[in-house]
């Protein structure tokens, strides 16, 4: 059953006006440019991309932490963008977010207990802080501590406990482990997986690291310059990537195996600015596909189904690299 349904989500940031706000505005930044996906109840969608791909903006706009430019988000059949303030607040109880940086997302002047109590009070709920701490693997004694007394991994556990305190169904995890060391990252990933099973949670897991996503996601969507370029069940996308960008991303992950003799595809050039995306296929200036043609310069490839359940936005997806 579909829990969250995102349809043609668009978020543009208006360009600044020069000459003290009187001149012509600069080109708008097309952070998210027509993104659609659905997540079934109890499943995890991994949303992968590099800086500037728009993956974080998708997560924030879905929860209406930012207002969208266009598009629709349905959560349990409710149109999230059409709700008034009261009903939005009620809905927020069911959709929560865990942020990337456990250093800046906790209030330094609040104890762990105060941080966990606040959402309960806002939503008029009764909940036990010791039980929450226990669930995320922290001793009850942590309730009286301040964030500066905690390590990065412990802070992230508090961030997770805060999101869970109001018993949400859906959690956006925005790069929840990328600021953590490898050994601690594994602890937090395992915790997120356990909580999902225990509480039947649905996750949107945003990350830049394809190896991390592999360990948590059921489906994976890859973003490039505000668009989804490929979407498929996880096993399928890792075994048979259809889009040359996915292929290059996979090959660029450094493998902890000195004997790995894979063919590395090193992409040329930088990620273009989302204020001036290239014409046609946004990936064409960096695309290493041997079949790349004039068509890629002029005609934007739609995201289309190549094999059942496997979508890719490439004119040559039938003949992957």
């Amino acid at each position: 059953m579909t829990l969250v349904d995102v349809r043609d989500l668009v978020k543009h940031y208006a360009g600044e006006r020069r000459w003290f706000g009187l001149g012509r505005p600069a080109a708008a930044v097309r952070a998210v440019d027509g993104v659609s996906f659905a997540i079934a109840s109890g499943k995890t969608l991994g949303l992968v991309g590099e800086s500037g791909s728009g993956k974080t903006t998708v997560g924030r706009t879905m929860l209406r932490l930012q207002e969208p430019t266009a598009g629709k988000v349905l959560f349990e059949e409710n149109d999230v963008f059409a709700l008034d303030a009261t009903r939005l607040r009620a809905l927020r109880r069911r959709m929560q977010i865990v942020f990337q940086d456990p250093y800046s997302s906790l209030n330094p002047r609040m104890t762990v207990e105060e941080t966990l109590r606040e959402p309960l009070e806002i939503h008029g709920l009764s909940g036990a802080v010791p039980a929450l701490l226990d669930e995320v693997g922290l001793d009850a004694a942590f309730a009286k501590r301040y964030p500066h007394e905690l390590s990065g991994g412990q802070r992230q556990r508090v961030g997770i406990a805060r999101a869970l305190s109001v018993e949400p169904k859906f959690v956006v995890c925005d790069e929840p482990v990328s600021a953590l060391d490898v050994s601690v990252q594994a602890q937090v990933l395992n915790l997120l997986a356990d909580l999902q099973t225990r509480r039947r949670l649905t996750y949107l897991f945003i990350a830049h690291d394809l190896a991390v996503v592999r360990h948590i996601a059921d489906d994976v969507a890859v973003m490039y310059l505000g668009k989804i370029v490929e979407r498929a069940p996880a096993a399928e996308i890792y075994a048979q990537p259809r889009h040359p960008y996915t292929r290059a991303l996979l090959s660029a992950v450094p493998e902890p195996n000195p004997r790995a003799s894979k063919q590395r595809i090193v992409l040329a050039g930088d990620i273009p600015s989302p204020a001036h995306p290239p014409s046609g296929c946004p990936f064409h200036p960096r695309c290493p596909h041997p079949l790349k043609s004039e068509r890629c310069h002029t005609e934007p490839p739609p995201l289309r189904e190549i094999t059942p359940g496997h979508l890719a936005a490439c004119h040559y997806a039938e003949k992957p690299m």
């Binding site: 050994s183 594994a186 830049h208 394809l210 360990h215 450094p254 902890p256 992409l267 990620i271």
Partner: protein
């Protein structure tokens, strides 16, 4: 790539770098008795997590640790081509720093000066160390930009750092470091701040430049994947100590220290099916209060009473060039019993 025969280019022995912390909190023993060798032309990886002392080690080599609060203890030796860098007077050290030993940092944004053009910043070292004229130095800067793969170097030489992307800035940093053709390049997390496709570009560039220029590289990173693909030998650090040293293939095939073993198992693999990750329980202890005995014992699955009281020395594992600071080397049957 070269072997470990012949004299080392850089010898680090018993390096101790401590920091005095706020009153009452004691001394942070960030680097505590670290020894390793760097041979000409090789890439030596130093791996570890936050707080293990890998960055302080690299800063100590060029004496870039701020004093106070930091200080390098007497008895530490950092020998470059037979001279102890820790005993050099400031002008002699300056002749080495940036000239024969150069360094690139993690944050290309904060380590470039925003008010000078990239050309000026690259040319500075050539003017200071090689006494080139401004004109010759500018030509050298353009040459270096070309070498590190920056398109239109003649235009880019007059650009300011903010006009460049993150990957381009890291290329500029590399150009600055290599302008005097150093014998040793210290690269401290050179790709951590970059996206994965840009990281691949920078690592490929470093490999190519090392082949062309023949320098030795000290590659400091938290990423075992980066080490696997780019280092000849690896030093693993934990809690201010070197816990394992080995040729790269030996380390990955036969990790001996339980910390190395745990770290390797904790890395999410792109080629493994969805599964539970191995996690090392607990967390890195504070540098002001390292545990007694083996510093890893509170987190170690094999630890027994000896580990709590006696710290193991570096022990030869039997494989060439492979040492580990772990009692399991002397009692390997204990590892088998746990499995």
């Amino acid at each position: 790539m070269t072997g470990t025969e012949g004299p080392a280019l850089l010898r680090v022995r018993d390096l101790k770098t401590y920091f005095v912390t706020e009153q009452g909190k004691g001394t942070a023993r960030a680097v505590d008795d670290v020894s390793f060798d760097l041979y000409p032309g090789e890439t030596l990886g130093i791996v570890g997590e936050s707080g293990c002392g890998k960055t302080v080690t690299s800063l100590s080599i060029l004496r870039l640790v701020p004093e106070p609060p930091g200080h390098i203890l007497p008895g530490s030796v950092i020998e470059f081509e037979g001279r102890n860098l820790l005993a050099l007077a400031a002008p002699e050290l300056r002749a080495v720093r940036g000239n024969q030993i150069a360094m690139i940092f993690q944050e290309p944004m904060t380590s470039l000066n925003p008010v000078f053009t990239v050309g000026d910043q690259i040319a500075e070292a050539a003017i200071v160390h090689q006494h080139l004229s401004r004109k010759a130095a500018r030509a050298r800067a353009i040459e270096m930009l070309q070498l590190v793969g920056i398109p239109d170097p003649k235009e880019r030489v007059d650009h300011y750092p903010h006009q460049l992307s993150g990957g381009m800035r890291q290329r500029v940093m590399i150009a600055m470091a290599l302008v005097c053709h150093p014998k040793v390049l210290i690269a401290d997390e050179p790709t951590t701040a970059l996206d994965v496709t840009i990281q691949a570009q920078i690592l490929e560039l470093l490999d190519r430049l090392q082949n062309e220029l023949g320098m030795a590289v000290l590659l400091i990173t938290h990423d075992l994947g980066v080490v696997a693909g780019h280092a000849d030998r690896v030093v693993v650090m934990y809690a201010g100590r070197v816990v394992e040293t080995a040729p790269t293939s030996g380390l990955f095939e036969q990790p001996t220290h339980p910390y190395t073993e745990g770290l390797l198992a904790a890395v999410p693999r792109i080629d493994a099916p969805r599964s539970r990750l191995h996690a090392i329980p607990g967390q890195v202890p504070a540098a002001t209060a390292w545990p007694t005995g083996c510093r890893f014992h509170p987190r170690c699955p094999y630890a027994w009473d000896k580990c709590v009281t006696q710290e193991p020395p570096q022990l030869e594992t039997g494989a060439p060039g492979h040492t580990a600071r772990c009692w399991l080397v002397t009692e390997p049957e204990r590892r088998q019993a746990k499995r």
